[in-house]
C-alpha cells in the first residue's frame, strides 16, 4: 500500500509540474499537434507533378513533335518552353524556371528513318532528388512508349506483323507492383517517420525542460515528496514515468493512430499490434529521456541538445538512408536510441501491415532498452541524491 501511495504522490507532483510550466505545455500539447499538421500541409501534394521543362528540338520532325506532345501529356512534367538552342535552355535552367531539358539532335528523325538507334538527350536539374526522379521517370515512360511504336513499325517493314511483332517487342513482359505506397509519394514515406520522431523528441524536450528547470532553480529535491528524498528512488522513477505516460497517451493516440488516417497515409496495420508495439517504445523513450536529461544542467541547454539531434536521429533510423548501408559503427550507435526501433517498427506495422512477429527484433530491443534505461535513470537519481545536487 505504501508503495502505491508513494508512486501516486510522485505522480501527482509530476503532473502538477508539467501543467504549471508554459514551455512544457507548449511542447507537450501544442507542438505535438502542430508539427504533424504542418508536415501534413507541407507534404500534402505527395508527388511532384507538372514539373516545368524545356525542349530543344533540332530535328524539327514529326517524330520529335510526337515525342514532345507525349512529354507534355505525362503527369510528371509540363513542356513550358521550346528553345532554339541549348544556350537559351541553359539560361532558363540557371534562372530555375525549368528543371529539365530534353534535346533532340538534328539527326533524330534521320536515324529513325534509317533503322538506326536514335538518341534523345536529357539534362536533369540535380538540386533536389525529386526533380531528378520526376524528370527521369517521365521521360523514360515516353521513351518506352515511343520505342515500342517504332519497333512495331520496323518489324512490320521486316515482314513480321501482328501478334508475332507484339511478342517480339516484349518477349518477357514484367508487371511492377509498388507495394505499400503505390504512387511512391513523399508524404507516405516521410511523414510516418516524422510522426514517431515528433513523439520521441517532444517527450525529450518536455522532460529536459522539467529536469533542467528544477536543477537551475536549485529546488531539485523539493519536487520529491519529503520522505522519498533519501531513499525509494525506484518509486520516484516509476511515478514520474507513469505521469509522463498518462499525459502522453492522448498525444500518442492522436499522432500515431489518428493522424495517419486523417492525412490519408497508408495504415494497413492492425491497431492491436500497433498498441502492443508502442507500449515498450513509450516506456523506453521515457526512461531514455529521464536518463539523458539527468545530465542537463539548465533548461535551455536541454532544448538545444534535443533539437540538434532531431535530424541526426531521423537519418539514424534508416527510414531515409537504408540501415544496411550504414557503416556498422553508426548502425550500432543507432541501436542506442528508442527512436530508431520505434520508427522502423511503426513504419512496418502501420505502413506495411506487418504483425508483431515481423518486428520481433525491434520489439525485443525496445524492451531491452526499457530495462536498461530504467536502471540507468534509477542510478542517475541515486547519484543526484547522494551529492544532493542536480537531477530533478
Amino acid at each position: 500500500m505504501r508503495l502505491l501511495k508513494d508512486i501516486w504522490d510522485v505522480f501527482v507532483i509530476e503532473v502538477q509540474r508539467v501543467l504549471h510550466d508554459k514551455g512544457v505545455i507548449l511542447i507537450f500539447f501544442i507542438a505535438t499537434l502542430l508539427y504533424p499538421l504542418i508536415f501534413g500541409a507541407i507534404y500534402r501534394n505527395e508527388l511532384v507533378r507538372h514539373l516545368p521543362v524545356a525542349v530543344v528540338d533540332e530535328s524539327r520532325s514529326e517524330a520529335s513533335h510526337r515525342f514532345i506532345h507525349k512529354l507534355d501529356a505525362t503527369p510528371e512534367m509540363r513542356v513550358d518552353y521550346h528553345c532554339c538552342n541549348m544556350a537559351e535552355a541553359k539560361h532558363l535552367m540557371q534562372q530555375r524556371r525549368i528543371h529539365g531539358i530534353v534535346l533532340f539532335p538534328h539527326d533524330y528523325d534521320y536515324r529513325l528513318a534509317h533503322g538506326e538507334t536514335a538518341r534523345v538527350c536529357l539534362f536533369c536539374d540535380m538540386s533536389s532528388f525529386l526533380y531528378y526522379r520526376s524528370v527521369l521517370s517521365g521521360t523514360s515512360a515516353v521513351l518506352l512508349d515511343e520505342m515500342q511504336q517504332v519497333e512495331v513499325e520496323r518489324y512490320g517493314l521486316a515482314g513480321i506483323t501482328g501478334e508475332g511483332a507484339d511478342e517480339l517487342v516484349q518477349p518477357i513482359p514484367f508487371d511492377d507492383v509498388k507495394l505499400y505506397s503505390p504512387a511512391g509519394g513523399f508524404t507516405s514515406f516521410l511523414v510516418p517517420a516524422l510522426l514517431v520522431l515528433v513523439v520521441h523528441q517532444t517527450l525529450f524536450l518536455g522532460i529536459g525542460i522539467l529536469f533542467g528547470t528544477a536543477r537551475e532553480d536549485r529546488r531539485t529535491l523539493r519536487v520529491i515528496p519529503p520522505h522519498l528524498r533519501l531513499e525509494g528512488r525506484t518509486r520516484v522513477v516509476v511515478g514520474r514515468a507513469l505521469a509522463y505516460l498518462a499525459l502522453y497517451l492522448p498525444v500518442v493516440a492522436v499522432d500515431l493512430v489518428l493522424m495517419p488516417r486523417g492525412f490519408g497515409l497508408p495504415h494497413i496495420g492492425r491497431i492491436g499490434d500497433l498498441c502492443v508495439f508502442l507500449l515498450p517504445f513509450m516506456l523506453a523513450t521515457v526512461f531514455f529521456c529521464m536518463t539523458v536529461c539527468s545530465f542537463v544542467r539548465e533548461r535551455d541547454t536541454g532544448i538545444i541538445t534535443c533539437i540538434f539531434f532531431s535530424v541526426v536521429l531521423l537519418f539514424l533510423s534508416g527510414a531515409i538512408w537504408p540501415s544496411c548501408n550504414m557503416p556498422s559503427f553508426w548502425r550500432l550507435f543507432s541501436y542506442l536510441f528508442p527512436s530508431t526501433h520505434g520508427i522502423q517498427g511503426f513504419i512496418r506495422i502501420n505502413t506495411m501491415g506487418a504483425t508483431l512477429a515481423e518486428v520481433k527484433f525491434e520489439y525485443l530491443m525496445l524492451w531491452l532498452q526499457t530495462a536498461l534505461y530504467f536502471a540507468t535513470s534509477c542510478l542517475c537519481l541515486r547519484a543526484a541524491k547522494r551529492f544532493k545536487i542536480g537531477v530533478a
Binding site: 514551455g23 507542438a31 508539427y35 507541407i42 507534404y43 501534394n45 511532384v48 541553359k90 535552367m93 540557371q94 533503322g115 536514335a118 538518341r119 538527350c121 539534362f123 536533369c124 536539374d125 540535380m126 538540386s127 532528388f129 531528378y132 526522379r133 521521360t139 521513351l143 520505342m147 517504332v150 519497333e151 520496323r154 518477349p171 518477357i172 513482359p173 514484367f174 508487371d175 511492377d176 507492383v177 509498388k178 507495394l179 505499400y180 503505390p182 511512391g184 507516405s188 516521410l190 510516418p192 525542460i209 541547454t301 538545444i304 534535443c306 533539437i307 540538434f308 535530424v311 537519418f315 538512408w321 537504408p322 544496411c324 548501408n325 553508426w330 505502413t351 506495411m352 501491415g353 506487418a354
Partner: protein, 382 residues
C-alpha cells in the same frame, strides 16, 4: 560614441567567454557542428546506396531463372540475399525489412520463352522506403528489360539479321541522360550542401536566443544594451559571427574541396552567402527574443522555427509543390534563400547576376534584427 559602445560590448563579451566559463556553450555548439559534419559524411559515404538486399521467388527452377539470379547478383545496385519458393515467404521477408524488392519468376517461364508465349515476370518493390525501394526497383527493371532484349536478339539472329540491324530493332531510341553536376546521382550533394549549413544556422539561432535569454534572466540586459543599443548588440554578437562564419566557410571547404562536390561558380560567393546566413540567423534570433519576452518560451519557439527550416528550405521536397500559403511562408526562412542561391552557384555556375535576389532577401533579415533590438530596449527586463 557608437564605436566606443561597440568596443566595450565586444570587450565585455570576450571577457565573459574567456574568464567566466561562457566558452563552454560555444565549445559544445562547435563540437555539435563538427559531429554533424563527420556523422553525415561518413553515414552516406557510399554516395548512392549500393548492393541493396533483394530476393528472388523462383517458382520455375530452370536454367533461365538461375541465370537471371546470377545476372542480378552481378549488378552494382542490388544483391540477392535469398531465393524463396513462395510469394508469402518473400512478402514476410520484406515486412521484416530483410529485402527491399523481389522478383517473382512464375512456374513454366523457361518453357514459355522457348515456345514464345510471353511469360510474365512480376516485380515487387517496397515503396515505404522511397530511396531504397526506387533504387532496387530500377535495378530489377533493368534486368527484366535486358532479359527481353536477350530473347529478341536470339530470335533476330536466327532470322538472319546482322548485329547493327538487331540493335536498331531492339533499341530504336536511346536515352542519353546528363545529370548536371552530379553524374553519379550521389545522394550526398543533394542533402549535405544545404543540410549541414542548415545545422550551423540552427545552432547560431539557438545560441543567440539562449544568450539574450541569459542576459535577461540575469537582469543584465540594461547594463549590456545601455543607451546606445545597436552597437552594444553588434559588439556582443560580433565574436560569434566571426566564429560561425569561419566554421561555415571551413565546412564548405570540406564539402566542395575535400569531398569534391561540384562547384561551378565562385567560392567567394558561397562564402559571402555563408556569412549572410549566419548574420540572418542571428538577426532572427534577436527578433525572436525581442518579440517573446519570456526567455524560456523564446527558446521553445526558436526550436520549433529552427527545425522547420530544413523542411521549408525545399532541398528535400520542392517548395513549388507546396500549397500556396506555405510557399509564401517558406520565404521567411533564411535557409531557403541560402539553398536557392548555393544550388545555383554550385550546380549551374551562376554568378551574382542570377542570385542577387537571394542575397537581398538574406540582407532583409537583418532588419528583423533591428526590430528585435528595439523591442529588447523597450520591453527589456522580465
Amino acid at each position: 560614441m557608437g564605436k566606443g559602445v561597440f568596443v566595450s560590448a565586444l570587450r565585455r563579451e570576450i571577457k565573459r567567454l574567456l574568464w567566466q566559463g561562457r566558452a563552454r556553450y560555444l565549445l559544445l555548439t562547435t563540437l555539435g557542428i563538427v559531429f554533424c559534419y563527420i556523422f553525415f559524411l561518413t553515414l552516406m559515404a557510399e554516395g548512392q546506396p549500393q548492393r541493396l538486399p533483394i530476393a528472388i521467388v523462383d517458382r520455375d527452377g530452370s536454367y533461365l531463372s538461375r541465370r537471371l539470379c546470377h545476372e542480378i547478383n552481378a549488378m552494382q545496385g542490388v544483391r540477392v540475399v535469398a531465393v524463396y519458393n513462395s510469394h508469402t515467404a518473400a512478402r514476410l521477408a520484406m515486412q521484416r525489412q530483410e529485402i527491399y524488392a523481389f522478383l517473382e519468376i512464375p512456374k513454366g517461364t523457361y518453357n514459355d520463352v522457348l515456345s514464345f508465349t510471353r511469360p510474365h515476370l512480376a516485380l515487387y518493390s517496397n515503396n515505404a522506403y522511397l530511396l531504397s525501394g526506387a533504387l532496387s526497383y530500377r535495378s530489377l527493371a533493368t534486368i527484366s528489360k535486358l532479359a527481353s532484349g536477350a530473347v529478341q536478339r536470339e530470335v533476330l539472329r536466327k532470322k538472319g539479321y546482322d548485329e547493327k540491324q538487331i540493335m536498331g530493332l531492339i533499341q530504336p531510341i536511346e536515352l542519353d541522360s546528363h545529370l548536371i553536376s552530379n553524374p553519379t546521382a550521389n545522394y550526398q550533394p543533394y542533402v549535405l550542401t544545404t543540410m549541414l549549413p542548415g545545422m550551423l544556422g540552427l545552432s547560431v539561432l539557438l545560441l543567440t536566443v539562449y544568450m539574450v535569454g541569459r542576459e535577461r534572466k540575469a537582469g543584465t540586459l540594461r547594463e549590456w544594451l545601455g543607451e546606445d543599443a545597436l552597437p552594444a548588440l553588434l559588439g556582443k554578437l560580433a565574436p560569434y559571427t566571426l566564429w560561425f562564419t569561419t566554421m561555415g566557410i571551413l565546412g564548405n571547404v570540406v564539402l566542395f574541396g575535400w569531398c569534391r562536390f561540384e562547384l561551378h561558380g565562385s567560392f567567394l560567393l558561397v562564402a559571402l552567402l555563408t556569412l549572410l546566413l549566419v548574420t540572418a540567423m542571428q538577426a532572427t534570433g534577436v527578433f525572436l527574443s525581442g518579440i517573446i519576452p519570456d526567455a524560456h518560451l523564446s527558446t521553445c519557439f526558436a526550436a520549433i522555427y529552427g527545425t522547420l527550416a530544413f523542411t521549408m528550405s525545399g532541398f528535400s521536397y520542392p517548395v513549388d509543390n507546396m500549397p500556396g500559403a506555405l510557399q509564401a511562408l517558406a520565404q521567411l526562412f533564411p535557409l531557403r534563400h541560402y539553398y536557392m542561391a548555393v544550388s545555383r552557384i554550385s550546380l549551374f555556375g551562376c554568378g551574382m547576376g542570377l542570385c542577387w535576389v537571394q542575397v537581398c532577401a538574406l540582407l532583409l533579415f537583418l532588419i528583423t534584427g533591428l526590430v528585435g533590438c528595439r523591442l529588447l530596449c523597450t520591453y527589456g527586463e522580465e
